[in-house]
């Protein structure tokens, strides 16, 4: 943080458009091979529009926005809490935005949200960053 963070400041945030095969790569990276994420036909057979993104992948993007805010230092991310809402899909831009809700000498609290189009896919997300 170039200047001390102040309540109400927007954080830089990030945007990512996961490609069609991202859920396959995330499945390999994480070990979560639930077919709703990697198999279009299976996903449709259980009533989904298609293969959906892993919730923990989207939480990972939120964690990256929070870590970026902490000058890229993973040691400074103290906590992250999210609620999963709605489904995320590949080949559609995800935007993570946030703002500072409180800041003192030791810690900065952030409110974050991840959206895809007009859908919130992660909301009520709070992060604590060590100063």
């Amino acid at each position: 943080m170039a200047a001390p963070a102040a309540e109400g400041d927007a954080i830089p945030g990030l945007t990512v458009t996961p490609d069609r095969y991202l859920p396959v790569r995330y499945a390999g990276a994480s070990g979560d091979f639930n077919p709703i994420h990697v198999d279009q036909e299976f996903a449709k057979s259980v009533g989904l529009p298609g293969a959906i993104l892993h919730g923990l992948y989207m939480m990972g993007l939120v964690s990256r926005a929070a870590t970026d805010f902490a000058d890229g230092d993973p040691r400074r991310l103290e906590s992250l809490s999210v609620q999963f809402r709605g489904m995320g899909f590949p080949e559609e831009e995800i935007s993570v935005t946030g703002r500072v809700t409180s800041a003192d000498g030791d810690r900065v609290e952030l409110d974050l949200v991840a959206t895809q189009g007009d859908r919130e896919v992660i909301r009520n997300s709070t992060a604590t960053v060590r100063a």
């Binding site: 790569r25 995330y26 990276a29 990972g60 990256r64 890229g72 991310l77 103290e78």
Partner: protein
């Protein structure tokens, strides 16, 4: 909705995971963490780490083997056809680096009904080879009613 709560308080067997450099790389690249501290041991040491460091959310990788037996436990008895991952939180302490041996223990913290839905909350605690806590997780699964 009648919920069986006998599993509340139950602890599951500890799970050991040895963190590898290439696994960190694979995870970091999938998530778009391109800082060399996640990829290059030299850059990581220069930044004060023992070896390449894992992005904080890599905890889901080393915790997974502890969570699965808890989530699939028949005594917990979640109906997977109606279940969604509702919420998640992590509190991090010691950073995790390639070469670390992490032991994670999961437990069932609560099973409660709210608004006709079942809220199944699990907790996990992970420690490194020196016994220092690396992360504490709260995993909330929601099972909707009939």
């Amino acid at each position: 909705m009648e919920l069986e709560t006998a599993a509340v308080g139950k602890s599951f067997p500890p799970f050991e995971y040895e963190v590898g450099r290439e696994k960190i790389r694979e995870y970091a690249i999938a998530l778009g963490f391109d800082d060399p501290i996640y990829l290059d041991p030299g850059a990581a040491r220069e930044a004060g780490f023992r070896n390449v460091v894992a992005p904080p959310m890599f905890c889901v990788v080393y915790s997974a083997g502890a969570m699965a037996p808890a989530i699939f436990d028949p005594e917990v008895g979640m109906d997977f056809a109606r279940m969604v991952h509702g919420a998640q939180s992590f509190d991090w302490s010691e950073p995790v680096c390639s070469g670390d041996l992490i032991t994670t223990t999961a437990s069932c913290a609560s099973i409660e009904e709210r608004d006709g839905k079942g809220f199944y909350v699990f907790e996990s605690v992970s420690v490194n080879g020196e016994g220092a806590e690396t992360v504490r997780g709260t995993w909330t699964n929601i099972v909707r009613g009939e």
